[in-house]
């Protein structure tokens, strides 16, 4: 009858299910999946080899083009700073979707995180701000859980509504709380909070300086490694460390504990889980509220680490990008971290107006495409091979004809990259089976 209603028939699984829903109707969905999943997973040695190859290619590109910013420590620490909020948003999405609830309200929960984080942060200290941001995000998560789990509202509809509500509420409260009295005197206004104290950060004494010296020599590979390492150990915020720990903790809890197994079972087959005595509602609530908290952390990070201030519209769609990073990472923390790193890198490029560096990376893209073309030809799929080669040639021409990339294009890179990656790999990805599908208690009886 309406979107709200009809989705409960086929499921918000219309999401990403375009192909599968139309083609797999006649195929039994159980047996043949396992070997395919195995083929997609890479073993650690292969993964390391790919990393090493990528690193070499990047070094080569830097050496050829002379765009030192490609692997400079500034660029890498910028990347880390931009990647953390995206990664946390993705982690939030991971928790929620692993329990079967699509959370497109992440953007709203991040907004709550930036606002409440800054509100508590400017009055006290960043740590209390962080707690407030997480609690604010949890509040958004709780709302989403009530709407989707208890009331069975379509997940995407509820997510959009929560984002709208979060925007409206924070705008109103910002005007009431940041534009009056003491806050206004310290520089607050309706769209901005007073400044927050810096989050303490770690710089490894001695190591950072020596790495910086090596980096400035611009030696092939050595300086690149020094730049990357230097970026990772210089001015490392405690919040970043905490975020990294959360990634590890997520992997451990979701894949190595009974709690995690039950939570994931709610995302794969809630009815089966129910029949085994799992309280599905409890796990869904827990996952979505935790998801809100993680998104709130991402928001609080955004307000306190890169900028020391709450700004209206500060999240700038990072909640959605986080979701994209999660899909990119095939609903797993490791892949998600890589996706977030990629987005963080391009974000950092744009902030540092890295037109020349982005231009140098065009060459990297050319190399990758040539490799892809060779692989396709080797596998005897000539049409795709020729197509990749043609793209490589076009990019090479672009590379040779210009010496920088307009900043607007740099800013669009993560989005184009997401689309390309999804277009190339969407069929290999496997989302939790009951993701986005409505579930009501007692369905299994």
């Amino acid at each position: 009858m309406t979107a709200v209603r009809s989705t409960s028939v086929e499921g918000g699984g219309g999401r990403r299910a375009g192909m599968s829903a139309t083609t797999t109707t006649a195929v039994p969905a159980t047996a043949p999946k396992a070997p395919q999943a195995k083929r997609g997973r890479l073993s650690y040695p292969v993964l390391l080899l790919i990393f090493a190859g990528a690193l070499l290619a990047v070094c080569a590109v830097r050496a050829i083009t002379g765009a030192q910013d490609v692997t400079s420590s500034g660029q890498i620490s910028g990347m880390l700073q931009m990647a953390v909020p995206i990664g946390l948003a993705g982690l939030a999405g991971l928790w929620s979707e692993r329990a079967g609830v699509v959370n497109i309200g992440l953007e709203g929960m991040m907004i709550l995180g930036t606002f409440f984080g800054a509100w508590a942060g400017w009055q006290t200290n960043p740590w209390i701000g962080l707690v407030a941001g997480i609690l604010g995000g949890m509040l958004g998560g709780l709302l989403h859980a009530v709407a989707t789990v208890t009331f069975g509202v379509d997940h995407i509809v509820s997510g959009v509504a929560i984002t709208l509500l979060a925007q409206g509420t924070t705008q109103y409260l910002a005007k009431r709380w940041f534009n009056t009295g003491h806050a206004a005197a310290l520089g607050g206004n309706p769209k901005q909070s007073p400044p927050i104290k810096s989050v303490p950060s770690i710089t490894v004494p001695g190591l950072s300086d020596s790495l910086l010296t090596i980096e400035h020599h611009h030696w092939f590979l050595v300086s690149d490694l020094a730049g990357i390492l230097g970026g990772l150990v210089t001015g490392l915020s405690y919040f970043t460390v905490l975020a990294a720990l959360l990634f590890a903790a997520t992997f451990f809890v979701l894949w190595r504990t009974a709690f995690g197994l039950r939570l994931r079972s709610c995302g794969e087959a809630p009815i089966a889980a129910e029949s085994l005595g799992v309280n599905v509602y409890f796990y869904k609530y827990a996952a979505v509220v935790l998801s809100g908290g993680l998104a709130g952390f991402g928001g609080a990070f955004l307000a306190m680490v890169p900028s020391h201030i709450y700004n209206e519209g500060q999240t700038g769609g990072r909640g959605y990008i986080g979701l994209a990073a999660m899909i990119f990472g095939n609903w797993r923390p490791g892949g998600l971290a890589m996706g977030a790193g990629l987005f963080g890198y391009t974000d950092s490029l744009q902030l540092r107006s890295g037109g020349p560096a982005a231009h140098a990376l065009l060459l990297l893209l050319v190399i990758l495409l040539v490799l892809l073309a060779a692989r396709k030809v080797y596998r005897k799929s000539y049409r795709q091979g020729v197509l990749s080669a043609a793209f490589a040639a076009l990019l090479l021409v672009w590379f040779l004809m210009t010496d920088t990339i307009p900043n607007e294009f740099v800013s669009a890179t993560p989005y184009v990259a997401t689309l390309l990656v999804l277009a190339l790999s969407a069929q290999r990805l496997r989302m939790p089976k009951a993701d986005g599908k409505p579930y009501r208690k007692g369905q299994g009886k």
Binding site: R5, G14, A17, G18, T22, I156, L164, L323, L422
Partner: protein, 374 residues
């Protein structure tokens, strides 16, 4: 039969009424908590909203919102979430403004040209997401969100002096070439004191009628709704689901192309950096509010325009106009919850009634058997 219809109507109205009530209560609580008088605020809004110049403003604003709501609703009816109306209408309006500024034809050609360019560009941008979905299995939600951001980047690249725009030395704003007078849409005035009503409202109304006709009176509309209810059932009955997905994305995008037109053809006559953004998301809210029904969307669009209009007056009276944002958010969230509650209640009633009927029939047969045995 008639009785059931009345009941359905009642249930249909119950949800929005419940949602509005919830919004009133929550907003009042927020106002009270921040030390403001809620009832005065509602009174101020009510009395200001019915003034004749307010009414004209509301109608003009609602025209844009209505088109956005329709664009989103086309997808919703088919279970497609076109989050990308936002990027589609901005890119479409930008392209239309550039093309319209370049050529100077008589109005009878100029206006259709601009509008068609807008619809084509909007359709193309949405169609990309549709193709990615059917060809590569990419969720339209993610694809359209990415396309929104890419549209922003494209516009900010092209909207620069020396590319497709000029720098206005007086106002220091960057904009496309102003449309020739032949590219200005007509306006009409009912009350000189209240200002002119934009003529594009006629187009919006026509779009609403077309939406109603196509969806409920043609085979295409039937197929579309079938796919929305159950993809597998549609496939089994011979609907080409993939083609339907692409087609409805194209239609949704073409409709999104119209969203920027009231502003472009009736107000600004150019695309500048301050061209309104974010209306696509408003459209989602309005489509949800109106349950994808052309009449309901109209009510939603008018309500949103009313809230927008009265917010400025609230500010003038010592309230914060941002309270309207809270109100809008609460309305959307409570409306979706209320629809679901009402749907469940209706379903439960129906099941009980059928159950009673079946039980009665069983009793009857049992009785008859008993009588026969005797």
């Amino acid at each position: 039969m008639k009785k059931i219809d009345k009941e359905r109507l009642l249930l249909g109205i119950a949800a929005p009424v419940l949602a509005l009530l919830a919004a009133f209560v929550v907003t009042s609580l927020v106002l009270l908590a921040t030390g403001k008088q809620p009832f005065d605020a509602f009174q101020i809004m009510g009395s200001y909203g019915v003034k004749s110049d307010s009414q004209v403003y509301i109608l003009n604003k609602a025209t844009t919102y209505y088109l956005a709501g329709l664009a989103v609703a086309v997808g919703f009816r088919m279970n497609l979430f076109n989050i990308g109306v936002d990027g589609q209408y901005r890119l479409a309006a930008f392209a239309a403004a550039v093309v319209g500024g370049m050529v100077n034809l008589p109005g009878i050609l100029e206006l259709p040209l601009i509008i068609i360019v807008a619809m084509l560009v909007g359709a193309m941008w949405a169609g990309l997401a549709g193709l990615l979905k059917v060809g590569r299995g990419v969720s339209e939600v993610i694809a359209t969100i990415m396309l929104n951001a890419i549209a922003t980047a494209i516009i900010s690249y092209l909207l620069q002096p020396g590319r497709l725009a000029h720098l206005d030395a007086n106002t220091n704003s960057v904009h496309t070439t102003v449309l020739p007078k032949s590219g200005w849409f007509f306006t009409f005035t009912t009350n000189p004191a209240a200002g002119p009503i934009e003529g594009f409202i006629v187009v919006a109304a026509l779009a609403g009628v077309a939406y109603w006709f196509v969806l409920s009176r043609t085979r295409f509309g039937f197929d579309l709704r079938t796919v929305g209810q159950s993809e597998s059932a549609a496939q089994a009955s011979g609907v080409n689901v993939k083609r339907m997905i692409v087609t409805s994305m194209l239609v949704s995008g073409a409709c999104a192309g119209l969203v920027g037109m009231p502003t472009l053809l009736n107000e600004s006559h150019q695309y500048a950096t301050d061209f309104p953004a974010g209306i696509g998301f408003t459209g989602i809210a309005i489509a949800l509010l109106g349950r994808n029904n052309p009449g309901g969307i109209a009510v939603g669009a008018l309500l949103w325009a009313f809230l927008d209009r009265t917010s400025n007056w609230l500010e003038f009276n010592g309230y914060d106009k941002e309270i309207v944002g809270v109100m809008q958010g609460v309305i959307v969230l409570s409306v979706v919850v209320a629809y679901e509650l009402v749907r469940r209640y209706g379903l439960g009633r129906q099941q009980r009634r059928v159950g009673e009927q079946l039980a009665a029939a069983a009793r009857n047969t049992a009785k008859q058997e008993q009588e026969a045995a005797i």
